[in-house]
């Protein structure tokens, strides 16, 4: 394999992995606190894209306001899902909460089908032009049929650069919230010991609501970057990225935010490189993540950065 192609795959893998990481953080934060797989997370990701789409195309908002609407809408939706569906089940067996989460996921999906329709909508020309430019590095210019064509170059779409920048900024903000604000401290504390925190006079439910809002907002950022990369939206769009992001969170060690980021990047890289090295396996692309999950969990059940948990009897 040529070095240019390899670098190209790595760049593509990284940008996909960062998107997985953005979604995975929401999973891991909720799991850290509630020990609940929030299956609806992928659907919140999907809804945020629809919010952005309709804010821009239907209401004629400028693109940046549309994105803000998407992010705010997702945060609000995440909080309401927690309030309506998960809060009544805080003390129920964990399996009930898990089953409810699947129900919420299906509800949001069918709601999207009923409201927005099941036909994919194109996202082309929704975002401004600088989202769709492609930069080339290196390569040779050859002449063919009177036109100049660049071959063997590394192509970097501007959305990839935007993804790198936005994800970096988002994670810095996340770090700031988690480690430099009182709310963040409360979130970390709740995930360590819920009972002790409630004795300290911190509202558990408020903290959990904030966690949902923060995680959903991150998923929305991921969603907006996702449609910049793959410009299409339909009600099932959240299913696979949601599942894979969860896999990424588990690979990284569920409950650990840094682990989710590492897991996401790793998953994106492996997925793109595997398809790049074995093009004939491209149809099985979605299967890689789960095979990786099963293999990794067999050897290291707590993930890459997760702590080994001992259960007290």
């Amino acid at each position: 394999m040529k070095i240019e192609i390899f670098v190209q795959h790595v760049i593509n893998g990284l940008s996909l992995g960062l998107l997985y990481a953005l979604i995975a953080v929401g999973y891991t934060m909720v799991y850290g606190i509630l020990k609940l797989i929030n299956f609806a997370h992928g659907e919140i990701f999907m809804m945020s894209i629809f919010f952005t789409f309709y804010a821009i195309t239907l209401f004629g908002f400028p693109w940046w306001l549309g994105m803000a609407v998407g992010i705010a809408g997702a945060a609000l939706l995440g909080m309401s899902v927690d309030k309506i569906a998960y809060k009544p089940l805080r003390n129920a067996p964990r399996i009930s909460a898990l089953i409810t989460a699947i129900g919420v996921s299906m509800f949001l999906q069918s709601l999207a089908i009923v409201i927005f329709g099941g036909i994919p909508e194109s996202f082309r020309n929704v975002f401004p032009e600088f989202f769709t430019k492609i930069f080339t590095i290196g390569g040779e210019v050859i002449e063919a049929r009177g036109r100049e064509i660049v071959v063997n170059a590394i192509r970097i779409p501007s959305i990839t650069i935007i993804t790198f920048a936005v994800t970096l900024i988002t994670f810095l903000i996340l770090w700031f919230i988690l480690y430099r604000t009182k709310a963040g401290m409360a979130m970390r504390a709740v995930s360590m010991d819920t009972k002790a925190v409630s004795l300290m006079g911190i509202s558990i439910n408020k903290t959990i609501g904030m966690t949902f809002a923060l995680g959903s907002a991150l998923a929305a950022v991921g969603g907006i970057l996702w449609v910049g990369k793959y410009p299409q939206v339909w009600p099932m769009i959240g299913f696979m990225p949601g599942l894979k992001a969860f896999v990424a969170a588990v690979i990284g060690g569920i409950g650990s935010v840094a682990g989710a980021v590492v897991g996401g990047i790793l998953l994106g890289l492996i997925e793109i490189l595997a398809v790049g090295l074995m093009p004939q396996m491209a149809g099985y692309r979605d299967a890689f993540a789960f095979i990786l999950l099963i293999v990794l969990l067999s050897f290291r059940p707590s993930g890459i950065m997760g702590k080994k948990e001992l259960v007290k009897v």
């Binding site: 009544p88 399996i95 149809g283």
Partner: protein, 364 residues
């Protein structure tokens, strides 16, 4: 206080009652086949198929307390294996227009096999897959099983989509002989209930319930958690495969779309068992019946409606919305479902009746 009454019926009476009940249902089916139209008969056989799916998931989910979301994967395996075995060679060659049929499948030996044996084969392959998937995942905690089994079902779907020469890719299989009728589906439901019911009542079943309620305590009592859970997972997988075979010969055409044999099917089965009560086999059958009837009844919300002279266009997907809303409401407000963890047995019926009688005679 009066002395405790004897609250059970002897085993002999129970067996007689059961046999009488089955004979009664058979007579009912004979009458139904004579009098109902084919649409209604199809719904009745669908209830039987849904019943098998729900009972087998209840074994994994309700009795053993593992949240498996891969049921549709096992059903899909059973459906494809059995359908490929019962289809005739000509039928296969006619429907594999893309790339032709791969070698072992296009032979006479593996075509036009009797329905019963094809169903057994479908179930066995599904059970084998359950073993292969269960071996690594049963060692993980419950949450990981949910996600790996969901992922596994998706992998199955991806393979069905890509193995063009065996599964006919995205076109799926068409022209599967329509063997499934009331007798096949309810007969298999009876077998499923007998086997899974006696399994759940045996010491194995009690051990599984102990694991469900407290895995650590069960382990401390010397129960091999891994072995027990794997056994029940494989058994559930087998009957899921059987249900898949019946479903394929009921639909007569199958394809790897998420709505046919994918995540939607798993979700529908989850609705059934939640409706019937998590952990109750008879509840699962009731839930399956209710789901099938309700989902036919709810067709009207998807068709055009005329209200005061205005026609409201039907919205597709509305049924799923109603079902998922119902699902969440049940999970929040009515977690017990219809049956809770109780079973519909002759003893339970007897107790209810005698309670009524006593209530009439003695007041409080």
């Amino acid at each position: 206080m009066m002395a405790m009454e004897k609250k059970t019926i002897s085993v002999k009476t129970q067996i007689i009652l059961t046999v009488l009940f089955i004979v009664g249902v058979c007579i009912l089916f004979f009458i139904a086949e004579e009098n109902l139209n084919s649409y209604m008969i199809r719904i009745v056989s669908l209830i039987g198929i849904f019943g098998i799916m729900a009972v087998s998931l209840t074994l994994i989910n309700g009795v053993s307390g593992m949240l498996s979301l891969g049921h549709a994967g096992f059903i899909a395996i059973g459906a494809y294996v059995a359908a490929l075995l019962t289809m005739s060679v000509q039928q296969k060659e006619a429907s594999f227009i893309l790339m032709g049929v791969a070698f072992p499948i296009n032979t006479e030996a593996l075509s036009s096999i009797p329905f019963f044996w094809a169903t057994i084969a479908g179930g066995s392959v599904a059970a084998l897959m359950a073993f292969v998937v269960g071996w690594p995942t049963m060692r993980m905690s419950g949450d990981y099983l949910a996600i790996t089994s969901l992922g596994f079902a998706e992998i199955i779907r991806i393979f069905l989509l890509n193995w063009n020469r065996i599964t006919n890719g995205s076109l799926g299989l068409k022209g599967i002989p329509s063997y499934t009728n009331i007798w096949w589906s309810w007969g298999w439901l009876l077998i499923t209930l007998l086997i899974i019911g006696s399994f759940a009542k045996s010491s194995y079943g009690r051990a599984l319930r102990a694991i469900r309620d407290d895995p650590i305590a069960a382990k401390a009592m010397g129960i091999n958690v891994f072995k027990h859970q794997l056994t029940s997972f494989v058994m559930g997988g087998f009957f899921a495969g059987v249900a898949g075979s019946l479903y394929a010969h009921w639909l007569t055409s199958i394809d790897p779309k998420p709505t046919t044999l994918g995540i939607m099917l798993t979700f529908n089965i989850l609705i059934m068992i939640v409706l019937g009560g998590l952990g109750s086999l008879s509840g699962a059958v009731l839930g399956a019946g209710l789901f099938a009837v309700l989902s036919e009844f709810l067709r009207f919300v998807e068709s055009d409606m005329t209200l005061f002279g205005f026609t409201i266009a039907g919205i597709s997907g509305m049924r799923m919305l109603v079902f998922s809303a119902l699902f969440i409401i049940i999970m929040i407000f009515w977690q017990k479902g219809i049956m809770g963890r109780n079973e519909l047995t002759w003893n339970a019926l007897y107790r209810t009746i005698s309670r009524f009688k006593r209530g009439g005679n003695h007041g409080k």
